[in-house]
């Protein structure tokens, strides 16, 4: 069987992985764009989302809509707590972005131990995943969950775009991102907008976590690898550009899966990091360059 026959399947695999990366990258990128630091604890919020959904579905037996709503609420609370208890004090003390980055990684590790203490070390599967079905299109196969991942990612990105482009909140966020001092002069309260930004990121994180949990399984450190991919995606897409981070996520997903056509598959990670390195060296502004960076 020639290698090219497997290309359609690899592209589909890449799109599935890419949608999940894009969900992680969009939250990371949104915070970087507005609040100006590298938000690694977004991975923690995604794992909390997955575990909350697991708790509501498997342990409490709620239906999936109610479980989803409660998960979003839980993630919003967790995110706001992290802002108020950690990031706000750090901003007040004028900590540099490097320090805030380190704090967010520490929080990520903290949350993985928290999940370990509450849920134990074994991998868990969300019960909804049992109703999964496989569709065979001949040249490639895709499952119901995977279709749902791609579709819900698209819907979320549409909402995100509407908020950023079409609402007053989005306008304030952009103003704040462009120049904090000027924004304050025209009467924008940065902390208030930051709170809203964290809430939007929390919603993205909650859905990202649920979908990640459905596609893969749940384990305490699940937030770490996904946010590293989210980080790479948002850099490749254009740091601080939310649409760029989504494109970056899909790009990395495709590059990893199609790239191993001729390379040993263990090098998937090496591929994504090499893409990162190449971009940083030759196009540090990412795929969506300066022109689109005000979004």
């Amino acid at each position: 069987m020639p290698l090219l026959d497997i290309l359609p399947q690899l592209i589909v695999n890449g799109l599935i992985a890419g949608s999940i990366y894009a969900l992680a990258a969009s939250g990371f990128s949104l915070i970087y764009y507005v609040v100006k630091f590298q938000y690694f604890s977004h991975g923690a919020i995604m794992s909390i989302g997955a575990y909350l959904f697991f708790t509501f579905m498997n342990l409490m037996g709620l239906n999936y809509i109610l479980a989803g709503i409660l998960t979003v609420i839980g993630c919003v609370i967790a995110t706001l707590l992290s802002n108020w208890l950690l990031y706000l004090p750090l901003r007040k003390r004028k900590a540099t972005p490097a320090i805030i980055l380190i704090a967010s990684i520490v929080l990520l590790i903290f949350s993985s131990s928290l999940m370990l203490a509450f849920f134990g070390s074994s991998t868990k599967a969300i019960s909804l995943a049992k109703h999964n079905k496989t569709f065979d299109f001949g040249i490639f196969t895709i499952t119901l969950v995977q279709t749902a991942i791609i579709v819900s990612a698209l819907i979320l990105f549409l909402f995100l775009w509407i908020i950023l482009k079409k609402t007053k909140l989005g306008k304030s966020m952009r103003a704040l991102a462009d120049n904090k001092d000027v924004a304050q002069v025209v009467g924008i309260n940065p902390e208030k907008i930051y709170n809203y930004t964290f809430i939007i990121a929390a919603v993205l994180g909650a859905f990202g976590g649920i979908l990640l949990g459905l596609e893969q399984n749940l384990y305490p450190r699940m937030g770490v690898p996904i946010i590293i991919k989210g980080f790479i995606s948002s850099v490749v897409g254009g740091l601080g550009s939310v649409p760029g981070s989504i494109i970056g996520g899909l790009f990395i997903g495709l590059a990893e899966n199609v790239g191993v056509l001729y390379l040993p598959t263990g090098y998937k990670d090496v591929i994504s990091f090499s893409v990162l390195l190449l971009f940083l060296l030759f196009r540090p502004q990412g795929i969506l360059g300066v022109k689109m960076r005000n979004v």
Partner: protein, 284 residues
């Protein structure tokens, strides 16, 4: 008891070399090198591979510093032109690349199987600890001298205002490359000493957690302060040892998680209350 203290101090001396050298790039020159651990790992692997192929340690030790330093020089030559956050991101990306390579370049690193049987430099732990102390002392003295020299002043001028330093006719690009090269050279030395101490290394040397702890040592001590770094290493190392004395009577499956949560909580509190550390002089 004394054997345990020897081990604690051996680690402290290795980490002092690692953290003080990181401070040279991060604190003194303003280059937020979040990939410092990658060079520590390169040094460890280089020294392990060299000695396992029969090269004596007194050649392997400086060689591993030179190998890590050359890597640092090449990478710095390409990346220090990047502005602000971008350098930081390449450096962080580098740390992630290192783990992928060490896991997958099996013909060289044996992948996840790791490299066992790395020979001791000095068999007796006490004398090895003294040797580590000597190397750490030499490194600290050299870096102290460097940061107070003319070159060190230029490093700090670049950190404070690169444009001004360039206007004064200094080739800031070369100085930045030099700073990273020296810094990564010492990271390689620290890696080599570490590999010979525990005699077995595998890709977990690049773990995120280890890396966060090393960064915490630097931050707790404070940027651009050598005595701060030494104190930061000591405080965090003692904290790491102390943490295994708490939670001994709780349900066994919770011991690990509780200890790690406590450690991370302490680090967060330190970051919140002293984001500039104990002796921090500058913000980077």
């Amino acid at each position: 008891m004394y054997e345990y203290l020897i081990a604690v101090f051996a680690y402290i001396f290795i980490y002092i070399i690692l953290v003080v050298s990181l401070n040279l790039a991060f604190g003194f020159t303003g280059l937020v090198n979040l990939g410092h651990m990658a060079f520590f790992g390169v040094g460890a692997y280089a020294s392990a591979l060299l000695t396992l192929h029969g090269i004596p340690w007194y050649i392997a030790l400086p060689a591993s510093g030179l190998i890590a330093g050359s890597f640092g020089a090449v990478i710095a030559a390409i990346t220090v032109r990047l502005k602000g956050d971008y350098f930081q991101i390449v450096a962080l990306g580098l740390a992630f690349i290192a783990i992928a390579v060490s896991r997958n370049w099996i013909s060289l690193t044996r992948g996840a199987l790791g490299l066992p049987g790395i020979p001791d430099i000095i068999k007796n732990n006490f004398y090895y600890m003294l040797f580590l102390f000597a190397v750490a002392l030499l490194s600290v003295v050299f870096l102290y001298w460097l940061t107070n020299s003319e070159t060190g002043k230029i490093f700090q001028a670049i950190r404070d205002d690169e444009t001004a330093a360039a206007v004064l006719g200094k080739n800031t690009y070369l100085y930045k490359v030099l700073s990273i090269t020296i810094s990564t050279f010492f990271a390689g030395i620290a890696g080599s000493l570490f590999a010979h101490y525990i005699s077995f290394i595998d890709p977990t040397i690049f773990d995120l957690e280890f890396f966060v702890i090393i960064l915490a040592m630097l931050i707790v001590g404070g940027l651009a302060s050598i005595s701060g770094s030494i104190l930061g290493v000591t405080v965090i190392s003692l904290l790491l040892s102390a943490i295994s004395f708490v939670f001994t009577n709780i349900s066994p499956e919770l011991i690990g998680a509780m200890r790690q949560m406590l450690l991370m909580l302490i680090l967060l509190l330190i970051l919140i209350y002293r984001p500039r550390g104990m002796f921090g002089k500058v913000d980077v």
